[in-house]
């Protein structure tokens, strides 16, 4: 008999490819958090007073809040005074005026990450806003977007150039005091991306933000706000990496999406923050609040996420389906291996009539990985004819991992149809053997099965991200045959 090491772990033990560190001069404030630090951040960014006051309100709310404990995650307490709340690459001027002024080391960093910022080298049809530690370092294709009337810029720029829009929408989906991490973010956020798609405009290209945590002992607190005005459409991509460090780093972002009547927002994430090593040392603590408000009638918000990184993921991209006939979607693949922990899922809050939501969650746990799907589907009394379908599957590899499912369904309207299905199973030895007996190597067989398992989610990703996502899982793209 052949010696058969069904060592699926080997497949999962992928090396973290983005673990390098960029040696660059930074302007970093000392660790610690109080109102002075918030004033300093606001001041450095030349913010109007209303925004400073908004931050301070959030800070005061945060001080009264406790770290949530309901999630299925264990970690040592986070010392919020040991974190530096502002770090920016030092440059001669306040902000680079064009790519030529961007520090070549930064450009090199993004090249290494496969995110070239030089427009001529760009993937056609994708505009990128690169956020390095706390600040946006470059936004590409600005001119072309400007022609279409699309605003795509760093959050700091938006505060300066489009204060009315920021003021109108900031915090309108995720209020300052929404939860512990959102409150912290609202107090100290340093940058992020801002997108506004005017009425009736179909954004001419994919928009993308690439987040990179580089500096030590810094937290990254970016804020993304996307507003799709009536009848507009946008597809937005987000990618994340961080250097390999032994310390845990905190990432607490907030993403707010607003879709007005007939607007359509598609938000895709490939999260590949440093997950820590095989002993559970280091890695990003990712506590993120993402929420979309399908405010207008016939609006649509779609979240797709592939979560392979972070030591801890705490994240529930959600949709408030306020407008009649609005649609919310959540497609997720989450992989936890080594000692990674993830508590992730979504909320679909049905308020409008004929609202529809779809949730497809695929969790893969390997080695000591532990993950929970946590989802809420709420059908309010006003949501006549609401529909939800939830499919939630877990694949287990190795006897030390865990997979948990906590779906909440609250139905207060009798015309609603809500369906939830979940399965948990081992990666099938039968399936592996079947593939191998047809001449396919074990690794390829695992790839095929995992890829098949995740297919419903991958097909929702824009092409460029689908490729990256599949690479991340170590899977080969299924060829279109015939």
């Amino acid at each position: 008999m052949a010696t058969q090491s069904h060592d699926v772990e080997a497949l999962i033990k992928k090396r973290y490819e983005h673990g390098f560190h960029t040696d660059i001069e930074t302007d970093t404030v000392p660790p610690g958090l109080d109102e002075d630090v918030i004033c300093l951040i606001s001041n450095k960014k030349h913010e109007p007073d209303w925004l400073l006051q908004w931050r301070l309100e959030a800070f005061r709310a945060w001080q009264k809040m406790k770290t949530p404990t309901w999630q299925h995650i264990k970690h040592a307490p986070i010392d919020y005074q040991a974190i530096s709340y502002y770090s920016a690459p030092k440059s001669k001027d306040d902000a680079p005026q064009s790519l030529d002024e961007v520090d070549p080391k930064l450009l090199e960093t993004y090249e290494k990450l496969g995110i070239p910022l030089h427009e001529q080298k760009m993937l056609a049809g994708v505009a990128v806003d690169a956020v390095f530690d706390s600040v946006s370092v470059a936004t590409t294709f600005k001119e072309k977007l400007h022609e279409a009337g699309v605003i795509f810029c760093s959050f700091s720029e938006a505060v300066q150039n489009h204060p009315d829009l920021v003021k109108q929408y900031l915090g309108s989906v995720v209020p300052q005091g929404d939860n512990f991490f959102a409150a912290l973010n609202s107090a100290v956020f340093t940058d992020g991306s801002f997108v506004y798609i005017p009425k009736g405009v179909k954004c001419p290209m994919e928009l993308s933000t690439y987040f990179r945590i580089n500096a030590m002992n810094t937290g990254q607190f970016e804020r993304t706000l996307i507003v799709a005005d009536e009848g507009s459409q946008v597809s937005y991509l987000e990618g994340c990496t961080a250097p390999q460090r032994d310390e845990n780093q905190l990432h607490a972002a907030v993403v707010e999406l607003v879709a007005l009547d007939d607007a359509n927002i598609k938000y895709s994430t490939v999260q590949n923050w440093y997950p820590g090593d095989e002993n559970g040392v280091g890695g990003i603590y990712n506590f993120v609040t993402k929420r979309g408000d399908a405010r207008g009638n016939n609006s649509r918000i779609s979240w797709t996420q592939v979560e392979t990184g972070s030591a801890i993921t705490w994240k529930y991209p959600s949709c408030i389906l306020r407008g009649d006939n609005s649609v919310g979607e959540f497609y997720s693949v989450a992989v936890t291996s080594n000692w990674q922990q993830a508590d992730t899922g979504t909320k679909m809050i049905h308020l409008g009539k004929n609202t529809k939501s779809t949730i497809v969650s695929k969790g893969i746990s390997a080695m000591h990985g532990d993950q929970a799907y946590r989802g809420l589907v709420r059908i309010a009394p006003t949501a006549t004819n609401a529909r939800n379908y939830t499919q939630c599957d877990s694949l287990l590899m190795g006897d030390q991992c865990g997979a948990h499912t906590f779906p909440y369904m609250e139905v207060r309207n009798n015309s609603a149809k809500v369906e939830h299905e979940a399965t948990t199973s081992k990666i099938g030895e039968d399936q592996l053997f079947y593939c191998r007996s047809r001449g396919i190597t074990e690794e390829d067989a695992v790839n095929m099965i995992v890829n098949g398992f995740c297919k419903d989610v991958f097909k929702e990703l824009p092409m460029e991200f689908a490729v990256e996502a599949q690479k991340l899982l170590g899977v080969t793209l299924e060829g279109a045959v015939g």
Binding site: M1, A2, R438, G439
Partner: protein, 251 residues
């Protein structure tokens, strides 16, 4: 082509095969029959290299290579094919994609170029006719939602595309109605050639009405206790297995 000598095998620490000897020459069809629990399926799975099946003694030579040293995929590349008794469902994995990947893996091991999509589809369409496989099954997930008969036909279709040197058909006839059985048998007969050998593992003689074996063996309690030609199968059908067992016990 295949030479099994004194093969002993265990499943979950239980001895199932207790000294099987079998010689198969190119072009021959051997039927292995026997009562339930005699070790027929174990033999098929041991040949294909299933994990939980441990060879404790004896050897299996396939074209001079020691099978026991080979992983299941290596065996497949070497020209071995098992048509499963219970083909597994693999959600999300496209049937035709699996087949293309399998074929190209086998071609690669033989030093042949991969078939492109056009050549591959040409082959597929030609071979589909052998088992009257419905085209929409091609683009479904592997075996998912297939009827019992469709699963078995899909196995034979895979065999027709992969063109193995030695095919082991594990209870391919079980659960088939007579029409489906005829289709499967026609497919198998079309694949007969002087270079290709087959092992038909079956509980019933009726498959052998449609696929004529060169040799028939009776496996009981982990050993081949009687061998003969197709006449033996007919005798088994009429008289059951008990007399063979008694004869073997007496000898």
């Amino acid at each position: 082509m295949l030479s099994i000598k004194n093969l002993h095998a265990q499943v979950d620490d239980t001895d199932i095969l207790k000294g099987v000897d079998l010689e198969i020459k190119p072009g021959e069809i051997h039927a292995i029959m026997g009562p339930n629990g005699s070790g027929k399926s174990t033999l098929a799975n041991v040949l294909a290299g299933r994990d939980d099946y441990t060879v404790t003694a004896g050897e299996i030579l396939f074209e001079g290579q020691n099978l026991a040293d080979m992983a299941p995929e290596e065996r497949a590349c070497a020209g071995l094919f098992l048509a499963f008794q219970y083909p597994v469902e693999i959600p999300g994995v496209n049937n035709i994609y699996l087949l293309k990947a399998a074929l190209n893996a086998i071609r690669k091991s033989r030093g042949e170029d991969a078939l492109d999509a056009v050549e591959f589809m040409k082959l597929v369409r030609e071979r589909m006719k052998l088992v009257k496989l419905n085209e929409d099954l091609l683009n479904r997930s592997v075996n998912e939602g297939f009827s019992g008969g469709e699963k078995k036909r899909n196995e034979i279709f895979q065999m027709a595309v992969l063109e193995p040197k030695l095919a082991i058909l594990d209870e391919t006839d079980s659960g088939l109605d007579i029409d489906a059985l005829k289709i499967v048998a026609e497919g198998v007969n079309a694949m007969r050639s002087p270079e290709r050998s087959m092992i038909l593992v079956t509980h019933y003689q009726r498959l052998l009405d449609y696929i004529k074996p060169d040799h028939v063996h009776v496996l009981a309690d982990g050993k081949i206790i009687k061998s003969g030609d197709e006449q033996l199968a007919k005798e088994l059908e009429e008289r059951g297995y008990e007399w063979v067992k008694q004869e073997a016990a007496a000898a």
